[in-house]
């Protein structure tokens, strides 16, 4: 009820029709999302790439995925290049942040978003979205680390729970794809989600 009200208010504040898809009807699919950024501070981080893939039932629609390289306004820091492997020259072929945001909105629509430490990614995206659309992403968020925590604490109350990605993958029997590629990370998150949902924690 409260969520519906919030959505209605956000929609009223929307100042750019290109982002209307965010308020489409919910078709029951989910979108797994991951971003690579230039730093780990959400206020200064620049978007470098976005990976997103839809989940329909037990199927990850990899054939219908979104992989965008984003041209940053400033050159990424050397220390981060080592992590995500996106060199300035790779990013030169990327799209402008504004185009990336409209294409992302068209792709995710009103679908709930799934991710691992999603909060950070959403904060960075909102940083770009607010000036353009006047709103933050209205989508419901499904945080994998939180779901995993709920699942483990049910099994082992009072234990300390390791929430690292590799632990989640090992414990849930999901293969580890090569990391720090936004689409790969989105696929990994989607697989983790399906494994958690099958255990009743979707």
């Amino acid at each position: 009820m409260f969520a519906a009200l919030l959505r209605a208010r956000r929609r009223a504040r929307l100042c750019d029709t290109r982002f209307l898809p965010l308020f489409d009807e919910d078709d029951g699919d989910l979108v797994s999302l991951d971003c690579e950024t230039s730093s780990l501070n959400p206020r200064t981080a620049e978007l470098l790439s976005i990976g997103a893939v839809k989940i329909r039932g037990n199927r990850i629609l990899a054939h219908d995925s979104l992989a965008l390289l984003v041209k940053p306004q400033h050159a990424p820091e050397g220390s981060n290049i080592a992590i995500h492997g996106l060199r300035p020259r790779d990013l030169a072929t990327g799209v402008a942040p504004e185009e990336a945001m409209t294409r992302l909105a068209a792709f995710i629509g009103a679908r709930p978003l799934v991710g691992y430490y999603l909060e950070f990614d959403i904060a960075v995206l909102n940083h770009y979205l607010r000036p353009l659309a006047g709103i933050a992403l209205p989508n419901r968020q499904i945080e994998l680390s939180a779901r995993y925590y709920d699942y483990r604490i049910r099994q082992y109350p009072d234990s300390s729970i390791d929430l690292s990605l590799s632990t989640l993958q090992t414990e849930l029997g999901v293969p580890a794809l090569p990391r720090h590629d936004a689409l790969n990370d989105a696929l990994s998150a989607a697989m983790l989600y399906l494994a958690l949902r099958q255990r009743g924690f979707g």
Partner: protein, 604 residues
């Protein structure tokens, strides 16, 4: 950025463009344990490739196959668009889902990729042999002089005469010798006799003036082709081989070198021929295993490999028997090899199945027979042929009999058959003579044929042994370990090889075929119209594949210092090998159904 593993067949034969095309169409599907992936009555619109997890294919309660990481299922169902089997998730599974239309489009575009989906066993095996490619040429290019079995050089002093040299060369069966003069080494060869005769040289002439000084030499670690070049350049047939101190110790003959390039087996055969005691035979026998390693590694098919070994082993046994048996015994008896050795299918030294037929009333002292036969079995054990666990060896009284006693034994096998008699007869049916009077075996054979004629019920009893071991495909159940306990294994002999070998043996016996090799028998049965050509070819391929598999794992075991056996470790198979094994076992299953029908086995 490739997420999809394209290194596995059949995907490894796609071009980069086709890979992109396929990857763009691939989804990922998650299945919980016990979920049903495909079932009869549902259209099959997807080809799955397991990323992680285990899926099993069931026909009712019967397990047909197990699919694991990187396995593809199910190519046949995809082509047909439907399946008669149910596919269940055995362990939580993530799989790539490739849409049928995209895969079919690729099969039309890429013939090699298409062959994987449409082809039968034979062409899949062919695809496999293409992979293991051109190792042969590599071994030949990288072989060194030391890899050959070199002849220890005979050495004479320069004062020795031409006559001395001729006698020594004849005695030691060599064509050349080294001549010493102070610290210098020369060479004297048979071709020098030509000049000696032409020039009328006195045979008392010392070698010093006739030998060639100094001898041209190579080193043990020189490449063989370098040695060949040296010979060609100097237009000579042999080189001395010097050791690390620079002293010439061996002779490398051009004929040996060429033999190595054409066929290593020639060297071993020569060595067997020249051997004068058991020690030398033992050294040659040790080379046989190495020969198998080299030839199997170079991609020689198992059927010619088996025959080559049969020929070598027969020579080895013949030489051994000649050394150990008194001439009278040798002449009045026939030494047999039986079982897999008789069929020419013993690729590694698995066991010694042998027997002796003695001429009736030979008058040879019984204790001499006992001594010679025991020594023979001991020698074979020393050469690395383990004693037969079933005791089928000629030193046992029941396996060395006079012809009359053999006839009585054969009569009992045929007319009072119990399980053991059947197996002993089966071993005997495969017998081949290797030494002595082969007519003795022929006589026993003729007797066997007259005993068996026109008794179809007897053939059914004989064939029944193929039912002894359970449905081979069920053996895949052992793959279902849920990754908990140790390594899952499959007994290839019980699971597949035996059914083909014994089935072919029973049919060949009934048809009156003289061949003892299973591949020959299968061909003969096709010729006689007993087997359909396609099944005959599939059986031969399936048998060759299983023998090769057993050989590969056996060689690996020998390398680790363990005995080779019939057990195959499932986890050591590639997914293509597992696929092929599944197909091979399916062929065995078809053959067993035919045998059951042909011999009315269901009525027992």
């Amino acid at each position: 950025m490739t997420r999809f593993d394209f290194s596995q067949p059949p995907f490894d034969c796609l071009t980069p463009g086709e890979r992109q095309q396929l990857e763009a169409a691939a989804d990922i599907v998650f299945f919980a344990e016990d979920a049903e992936v495909m079932a009869p009555g549902q259209p099959v619109d997807t080809l799955y490739i397991v990323i992680k997890g285990i899926v099993r294919e069931m026909n009712g309660d019967e397990l047909i196959a197990v699919f694991r990481e990187r396995d593809t299922f199910d190519s046949r169902a995809l082509i047909a668009g439907e399946t008669r089997h149910r596919f269940f998730v055995h362990e939580q599974t993530l799989a790539f889902a490739l849409p049928r239309a995209a895969v079919l489009a690729l099969t039309e575009q890429n013939t090699r990729f298409g062959a994987f989906f449409y082809a039968g066993v034979a062409s899949k095996l062919d695809a496999m042999s293409q992979q293991s490619g051109n190792r042969e040429t590599q071994t030949l290019l990288t072989a060194r002089v030391g890899d050959l079995s070199l002849r220890a050089a005979l050495r004479l002093d320069a004062h020795a005469t031409v006559l001395d040299a001729a006698c020594a060369m004849k005695r030691h069966k060599v064509k050349s010798l080294l001549v010493s003069r102070g610290g210098e080494t020369g060479i004297f060869t048979v071709s020098d006799f030509r000049d000696i005769i032409i020039n009328g040289t006195d045979t008392a002439m010392p070698l010093a003036g006739l030998a060639h000084w100094p001898v041209i030499a190579c080193r043990r670690d020189d490449y063989l082709f370098d040695a060949l070049l040296t010979m060609t350049r100097h237009n000579i047939q042999r080189l001395a081989v010097v050791d690390d101190d620079g002293a010439a110790v061996d002779i490398l003959e051009q004929v040996d070198l060429l033999a190595y390039f054409s066929n290593h087996s020639h060297l071993i055969a020569q060595r067997l021929e020249r051997a004068e005691n058991l020690d030398e035979l033992e050294a040659a026998a040790a080379q046989i295993t190495r020969l198998v390693q080299i030839l199997a590694g170079s991609g020689l098919a198992v059927s010619p490999l088996g025959r080559l070994l049969q020929a070598l082993n027969a020579r080895l046994f013949e030489r051994t028997w000649r050394l150990l048996a008194p001439p009278a015994l040798y002449g009045a008896s026939c030494l047999l090899v039986m079982g897999s050795e008789g069929r020419g299918e013993q690729l590694l030294k698995t066991d010694q199945d042998n027997a002796l037929i003695l001429r009736d009333g030979n008058g040879i002292d019984a204790s001499a027979v006992v001594t010679a036969t025991s020594a023979f079995s001991d020698a074979l054990t020393r050469f690395g042929y383990p004693p037969c666990p079933g005791g089928v060896m000629l030193y046992r009284p029941e396996w060395r009999l006079e012809v009359g006693a053999w006839r009585e034994r054969i009569r009992r096998w045929v007319y009072a058959p119990d399980g053991e008699a059947m197996m002993q007869l089966a071993i005997f049916v495969d017998a081949q003579p290797v030494a002595g009077d082969a007519s003795l075996l022929a006589e026993c054979r003729r007797y066997l044929e007259t005993c068996m004629r026109d008794d179809s019920a007897w053939f059914s009893r004989f064939a029944r042994a193929v039912e002894q071991f359970d449905t081979p495909l069920g053996l895949f159940a052992q793959l279902l370990t849920r990754e908990q306990d140790g390594r899952a294994t499959i007994d290839l002999k019980k699971g597949g090889i035996f059914a083909i070998v014994h089935g072919a043996r029973a049919l060949a016996l009934e048809t009156g075929l003289a061949e003892s090799n299973t591949f020959d028998r299968l061909q003969g049965l096709v010729r006689q119209g007993v087997l359909e050509a396609e099944l005959g070819a599939d059986l031969a391929e399936a048998l060759a594949f299983m023998l090769k598999l057993r050989l590969t794992q056996g060689l690996a075991a020998i390398e680790r210092g363990k005995p080779s056996g019939n057990l195959i470790v499932a986890s050591e198979l590639s997914s293509l090998e597992r696929d092929l094994l599944k197909e091979a076992l399916a062929v065995v299953k078809r053959f067993r159904a035919l045998l059951r029908h042909h011999f009315h086995l269901a009525s027992f």
